[in-house]
Subunit: 337 residues, 2 copies
Amino acid sequence: MIGSMPVDARTLLHELTKEARDLDIGNTVARVSASQLTSLVFYRDFVSRNKPVVITGAIDHWPALQSWTMNYITERMGEAKISVARTPHGRADSVVRLDGSQYFALPEEEQMPVQEFFTSLCRENSGEVIYAQAQNNSLPEEFGPLLKEVADLEWATLAFGTNPEATNLWIGGDDSMTSFHKDHYENMYAVVKGRKVFTLLPPSDAYRLYFQTCTVAQYRRNATGKLHLEPEEPSRGLPWATVDPYPPSDEQMEASKLAHPEYWDPDLPPPLQVVVGPGEVLYLPSLWFHHVRQEARADVCVIAVNFWYEMAFDCKAAYAKLADQLAAELHSNSHAN
Amino acid sequence: MIGSMPVDARTLLHELTKEARDLDIGNTVARVSASQLTSLVFYRDFVSRNKPVVITGAIDHWPALQSWTMNYITERMGEAKISVARTPHGRADSVVRLDGSQYFALPEEEQMPVQEFFTSLCRENSGEVIYAQAQNNSLPEEFGPLLKEVADLEWATLAFGTNPEATNLWIGGDDSMTSFHKDHYENMYAVVKGRKVFTLLPPSDAYRLYFQTCTVAQYRRNATGKLHLEPEEPSRGLPWATVDPYPPSDEQMEASKLAHPEYWDPDLPPPLQVVVGPGEVLYLPSLWFHHVRQEARADVCVIAVNFWYEMAFDCKAAYAKLADQLAAELHSNSHAN
C-alpha cells in the first residue's frame, strides 16, 4: 500500500474558490423581492446551491417595523430582565491578543432590565460595550412580550420543511462586532431597525480565515471593578478564525496582510459584503463564514430577529469538511516550514 | 511564497467517501411513492442533496406500460428508421483492451427500420450486439409515433423549473451494457419494460474509477464484413473510467482487484446497486457515475425513457471538480511510485 501522495493544497483550494464563484456565487449578494419567491424557487435557487440572497418585502407586515422604538420596547418589557454581553471593546466571542497569547474572549454575561440596557447603550464613552446577543431562542425565552410584533416566515418554514430550531433577537450599537464564524444552521436574518453589515465567505474558503487554537477566556470584573480577561480553569483550547476583516489601524492592516495573505490576496475573489436594512431578510446559508457589524447611525441601536432552521447534513457538509481538512493541512505545513 | 504542501490525498478521499455515505447517502437507494412527493419535497430531499431515489407510481398513466410490445412498436413505427449502435460484445462507449493498447470503443452506427432491429435482437448467437441508444432527444426525433404513449413528468419539470433538454428512448437486450460515466444533467430514468440494473458511485468517488486516457476508436466492418476496431484519424485521446464492475471471469475479477483496489476495497462503502423495474422512475443525480445493465428475461428487450434536465452549476459542481483533481493527483502519483 502506497503512503502519502503529495498534493498542492494551495493550488487546489485557490481553484475551488474561483470555480465556486465563477460558476454560481459571483461577487455580490443578489436581492430578490418576496413576491418573486415561492418556497420551491427559494429552495432551488438558493438553499440547494448554498448561496446567500437578500429578500425584500418579506416582513412588511411585521408591526415591529413601525413600533419598535426604545421607549416602546422598554414599556412592553417592563421589569423583565434580558441577557446582556459586555466587553471592553465590543468584540465578544472573538480572538483577543494579550501579553503575547491568543485568547478566544467570551463576554461577561449579566441580566438587566431593558431600560437599563438602553440607557447604557445610549451612554457614550462608557469604556464598555454591551450587546443583547443571547442565542438561546431568546425571542420567545426573554422577549416574550414582543413576540406578537413579528411573525414566522411561513414560506421559509415551508421550504425547509421544519419549524425553526430557535428564534433570536439581537440589539446592539455600532461598537459591537461579531467575529467570523459559521453555524450548522440555515439562517433567515431579518433586520427591523438600523443596518447590519455582513462580510461573508463560503465554506470552501475556510483556509482564508486562518483558524488557530485559542485559549478560552472570559471577561470578568476584577477587584477594582474593571473588566479583565480571565482564562478558563481548567485550560481549554478552541479553534477560531483569526482574521479581522476590519483592522482598526493602518499598522494592523499591514500586519494582517502579512499574517493572513490568503484573506487579502487580490488574485482571489474578495469576501462578499452585504448591507441588510430595515424590512430586509438575509438568507445566510449553512456553514457560511460570516462577520457582522452594526450601522445604527441615528437609530442608536440595530435590532434584528433571526430564525435558525435545521440544515441538511448532505454531501455539501461532507465537502465542507474536506475544505476544512485541506485548510488545516495548508496552514500546518506553513508553520512547519 | 511557500510551495507544495504535502497532503495525503488517499486519506482525504477515503474520509470524503465515508462522510458522504454516513451523513446522507447510505448504502441503498431509497424508494418513495409518487403520492408522497411534491415537487418541493423531491427537490429538497433528493435533488438539493444530489442523492438518488426510485419513485414508484409516477408513470402508471403511461399507455406505453400496457401497449409497448415489439409488435405494437413495429406497427406504429412502420418503415421509419432508427439509430442503432452495434458492437461485437455489447460494450459500446467503453474501454476495450486490444493488442496491449487501451481504446475507448465507439460502436458502429447504422440506421434500420424497427422491425429489422427487433428481429436482430431476438436472434441468438449472432456474434454481434445491437442497442438503440441514441441520446440526441431520440424519443421525439426518431420515435415520434410513440410520443403520445408517454407523458412528461410534470412534477419533475416543476421541480427543476425548466423543460427537459432531451428525452431519449432506449431499447436493448441483456448483452448490452453501458460503462461507468457521468452526465452534466439531472436524469429522470423511467423503465417501461424489463429491468435496468444501475451501479452507482457519487461524484466524490471519482478516484475509485481509475480514469485513464484511452485512444478513441470505432467499430467498423472490414473487407470480410467483420466488425473491427479502427482508431480515429487523427489520433484522439479521451479520459474514461477503466473499472468494469462485472468482470466476466474469475481471472478478470482478480486482475481488477489488483489494478483497481479502491473500487473493490472492503473498507470502503460499496457502490450502490439499484434495480429499476417497469413503471418505476430513477432520479439519477447530476454527475453521479453510473453503469447500466439490462435484465430482459422473458421480455427479450428492456425499454426505457429518460428525461435530461439542465443541472445547476453550483458549489456541488465545484466540489466535484475538486474530487476529480484529487483523484488525478492520487493516481498520477501512484504511477510515479
